[in-house]
């Protein structure tokens, strides 16, 4: 079945440092979504990428979809303590409705 892996599994950064998480799918995707889950909370949708090579920005967050539509990345510039949480990518295969497969997640800890 489809597998979606993320690296790193954990990341500790000093506040103000940058952070990047990488997402890799075993199959070509129709689209990829990113979610953030705060400690003790539930996943919250951040963004969806659809086009090959697409780049989207949300303030300090930059999302990228690979040219082959099998990988993606999330980059946070100048992390803040409010960025703490686990970031999940979620990939959807093409062909009618396909379920979303969540990645393994990257847990970000920001040290003030």
């Amino acid at each position: 079945g489809q597998q979606v892996m993320q690296i790193p599994q954990y990341q500790h950064v000093q506040e103000g440092e940058d952070f990047t998480t990488y997402c890799n799918s075993s199959t070509t995707l129709s689209n990829i979504q990113w979610y953030k889950q705060r400690p003790g909370g539930h996943p919250v949708f951040l963004i969806q990428l659809v086009k090959s090579g697409e780049v989207k920005k949300q303030k300090r967050l930059t999302f990228q979809f690979g040219e082959a539509k099998k990988n993606s990345s999330l980059h946070i510039t100048a992390t803040q303590t409010t960025d703490v949480g686990t970031y999940f990518c979620a990939g959807q295969k093409s062909g009618g409705y396909q379920k979303v497969t969540f990645g393994t997640g990257t847990k970000l800890q920001v040290i003030p």
Partner: protein, 112 residues
């Protein structure tokens, strides 16, 4: 966006018993899903709750163990049957009207 509520928020149950989790969405949605999440782990899809028909289960999950109902476009239930300690987890309801998924706050289940 959609706001999702779940009941109960947590429960401690004895092995061999069953628990029904309720999920209510504040608007009509096309898709509803049930996930399981172990602490510190990713989300595993249990099934897609189909309105007016039998749920679609993922590999490793069966209807006898996790019966699901979805009587209308805003409500669904998941029953965890004949529970064992291995069923201890967080169960999340999710809904989607387009591409993004909204999640409920989760039900933390402990089986003793």
């Amino acid at each position: 966006s959609a706001v999702i509520s779940q009941k109960p928020s947590r429960d401690i149950c004895q092995r061999g018993t069953s628990l029904t989790i309720q999920c209510q969405v504040d608007s009509q949605v096309t898709m509803m899903f049930w996930y399981r999440q172990q602490p510190g782990q990713s989300l595993t899809l249990i099934a897609t709750a189909n309105q007016g028909s039998e749920a679609t289960y993922e590999s490793g999950f069966v209807i006898d163990k996790f019966p699901i109902s979805r009587p209308n476009l805003t409500f669904s239930t998941l029953t965890v049957s004949n529970m064992s300690p291995e069923d201890s987890s967080i169960y999340l309801c999710s809904a989607s009207g387009g591409y993004e998924q909204y999640f409920g706050p989760g039900t933390r289940l402990t089986v003793t």
